[in-house]
Symmetry: C2
Subunit: 85 residues, 2 copies
């Protein structure tokens, strides 16, 4: 079994209220090292057997068309995570 990981983040010019809320909370809780926080999404797509180039291409298309909203988000990574399970 293998997994394709898709990472989606809000575009830099888009407001990110969840990220802002976290960024406001962290210093109040003693975590003072961080100047800004953005919150996005991470998908794990499970694949039976090996991830072929064709499957990876399918994942890239799905990432762009289904898993992200191209108006407000950008796909920052589509990569394979091999693991034993």
């Amino acid at each position: 079994m293998a997994r394709v990981i898709v990472e989606v983040m809000p575009k830099p010019e888009i407001l990110d209220p969840q990220g802002k809320a976290v960024a406001g909370a962290l210093p109040r809780l003693g975590f003072t090292a961080f100047t800004s926080v953005r919150q996005g999404r991470r998908f794990e797509l499970e694949v039976e057997g090996e991830v072929t180039e064709e499957i990876l291409e399918q994942a890239r298309t799905a990432a762009a068309e289904v898993l992200s909203n191209p108006v407000i988000e950008e796909v920052v990574s589509v990569h394979v995570l091999e693991e034993s399970a």
Copy 2:
């Protein structure tokens, strides 16, 4: 400028309705390669200057205590993303 990336996923035993919805939609849209989908979150924590071991430790603690809900989620990765900006 550098960023610390924190990745959080629902625990395997926890239902993931968003992931299930995506897993149901993909084959209807022609993406037939994926047998299961899980949806989690990805945070980008911005740091002025370099990410020291102390800052990374702060990020690990924040990931476990603030950015994730340990009852239903697990932190799958805390790592540094170096970049020019």
